[in-house]
Symmetry: C2
Subunit: 414 residues, 2 copies
């Protein structure tokens, strides 16, 4: 029986490909890996800010009418269609065989939700055929083909998703995401000097970290979890970075070694809060409040409801600060709900702790609240899930809050 080569999907983002020199650097990283006998699929984003510039041009040309989503997607997909053959050419220039494929050619089929299409399925035959021919297969990320034969894009930052989806479809040993940082940190290193790279993290925890500010597309983590694709998040620019491995470590020896109860303390800035006071308390009231916001495309994050003694409730929810005014406006015009008054507050932030180790262990919440209190941080709102505790605090106190929590759970040491 012949030993099968290791099969790896590597993904490089726009900041790793922003210039000719960077593109050459990535080609070198790819070829060095190939020289070790690894079979490679390389998934690439558009170079630097290409996509943003095209979008701005489209908006100017479109005048008062917003550009058709289908046309916008056809346009936005071209950035990756440039990078892919350039990377193929650069790899060949370094002496290895390569072929570039568009999302369509790589067999990525999507629904027709232009701008944030979901991958319907992948036919990886062409990718597998080219791998079998000994080629490094370069795939244009971020895009796929609809049933109607049109190009749809998967949403901003979704080249990660392309990489994971292909890794799942070809049963790759690992999907490696190359970025401009060394990995996933225990906290934002700009806020917490002791923050360090997390060596291993489970999908569930990573999903909370991703949605709480670590720069990863949550959909790619979801897909990796569903298809059990091991991932590595590491640096394009620091060859010594060991990165963060994402996977199922629960049944492995590694679990024993790394089992910290808390994995990280992600933070998020620029949060606003809407509070509705004196809301009639009846079934379905939360849905009545949230529906018009969802229809306006406003994402509601933390929701807290208190019932007062007179049968009326206070309901608070947070939104991105940029959406605060519109969220309050929409809510105040909501005729489906009886309420007494509305108040808004900006200048808030979010600090959380994430960790599967806290499952069924109520002590963690108390430790977090105590640490924040000792640091003089006032908690405005609280929400918890099985593996997550989130506190809304004043943005001015975010740094103090993040450092206090990071220290309390000893996240700065392995």
């Amino acid at each position: 029986m012949t030993k099968r080569n290791q099969l790896v999907v590597q993904k490089f983002g726009g900041s790793s490909l922003a210039t000719e020199e960077l593109l050459r650097n990535v080609a070198k990283i790819v070829c060095e890996r190939r020289a070790k006998g690894t079979d490679l699929v390389v998934c690439v984003s558009a170079m630097g800010n290409t996509t943003d510039e095209l979008l701005q041009l489209a908006n100017r040309l479109s005048g008062e009418r917003s550009p058709s989503p289908r046309e916008t997607d056809a346009l936005m997909s071209t950035g990756e269609l440039v990078t892919a053959p350039l990377m193929g050419i650069a790899i060949r220039g370094l002496g290895h065989e390569a072929i570039s494929l568009s999302g369509r050619q790589a067999g990525i089929r999507t629904d027709e939700t232009y701008g944030s299409a979901r991958i319907a399925n992948i036919d990886p035959q062409r990718v597998l055929d080219e791998l079998a021919r000994g080629k490094i297969v370069v795939v244009a990320g971020f895009q796929g083909l609809t049933q109607a034969g049109d190009t749809a894009t998967l949403g901003r930052g979704a080249s990660d998703l392309t990489a994971v989806a292909i890794a799942a479809a070809i049963n790759a040993d690992v999907c490696e995401i190359y970025t401009d940082v060394d990995g996933i940190f225990t906290a934002d290193p700009r806020l917490v000097p002791e923050a360090r790279v997390i060596p291993h993290i489970g999908y569930e925890e990573m999903l909370e970290m991703a949605s709480l500010g670590a720069k990863m597309n949550p959909r790619s983590i979801e897909m990796a979890a569903v298809h059990n694709v091991p991932m590595l998040i590491t640096s394009t620019f620091n060859p010594n970075a060991s990165g963060t491995r994402i996977g199922n470590f629960e049944d492995t020896d590694i679990d024993m070694e790394i089992s910290k109860s808390i994995t990280g303390a992600p933070t998020e800035r620029s949060i606003g809060r809407v509070t509705m006071q004196g809301v009639e308390d009846r079934p379905g009231i939360a849905a009545s409040i949230m529906t018009p916001l969802a229809e306006a495309g406003i994402n509601v994050d933390v929701i807290v409801q208190n019932v007062s003694s007179d049968g009326l409730a206070d309901i608070s929810f947070t939104v991105k600060e940029e959406n605060l005014v519109r969220a309050a406006e929409i809510t105040s015009q909501n005729t489906d709900v009886d309420f007494a008054s509305i108040a808004t507050r900006d200048g808030l932030a979010k600090v959380s702790v994430v960790g599967t180790g806290m499952k069924n262990s109520p002590g963690y919440a108390a430790r977090m609240f105590r640490a924040l209190a000792d640091a003089g941080v006032n908690i405005e709102m609280i929400t918890t899930s099985e593996i997550l505790i989130t506190c809304i605090v004043e943005e001015a106190q975010l740094q103090a809050a993040a450092n206090a929590v990071h220290a309390e759970f000893d996240l700065g040491t392995v």
Copy 2:
């Protein structure tokens, strides 16, 4: 019976689309036409020099190895893939419905001769469907899909070809090519101040004009002739230009009105000549000389052979000046042919007259030679066909030659 709208294919080249403002200007031209009730397919090139810049980047990245033609084509096709949705968006911004299609989506199927693929066939169903929905259909020029599902480009300047091919496939009333000049001139206006735009020209004559320097892709004229597609060459920038109509005018009233025997006097600069002296004269000798040149990709233009009394021949042929040294080298190394010596000459140019009116009328050649002689221009080589007389002259005498011929045949007046 309902009256069918006029159906027109418009093609805009890179210089008409080089900037955001120019793109907007083209969208305006398209919409004004649409407002008159015309059904439109708009075929676009890449913006300005996009394609050249991508090619240079590819060459740098490729190092010593030349880039794979397949990858180069995937890369080069992206320029048009950007322009097409931008044009679609700009047209929609002006209030008309539009949809952009890639070459693939427009049903253009090619062979696999990357860099200069030939169109194998067109399936125009998608284009027809979108027209039936009342949309202006914007098509990315210059590209098609191979049987293997890869993108191939049709050669530099071949967006014209895309436009004509689509016009043929959908049976359009006319294919309009918008350029940065007012039409096809009787002579190069930089050389001949009296040169004027030719109002009507037959395919056969236009083919000679196109291959002799007028800026048109000869393959598009050939295709228009085969499928009998009427064309109009006109200006993007001069709304008052009436342009040049290309078509079959032989059986129409127009023929009577415009029938000049000579249509134009095209010229070409920078020609070199190779002369082989004392060549053994046997069947197949010309083929033996031309084959290695063709294999080296060198295009041979005018060929003249004289047999001398001793049974040996002198054979002269012209090439582009830039290929002269290599052509002489290849010819001197030709072991299939016995010859005495080789001479080369650079600094030559070509002046021709084109016109179906000279068919079977030998007097035209004599008039041309007399006009050149009277202007003091020495003729180095002569070649003729049914509708063409070409003289090779010194490049220094080209202006005198062109003006003499233009005046002799009264080309400056309608």
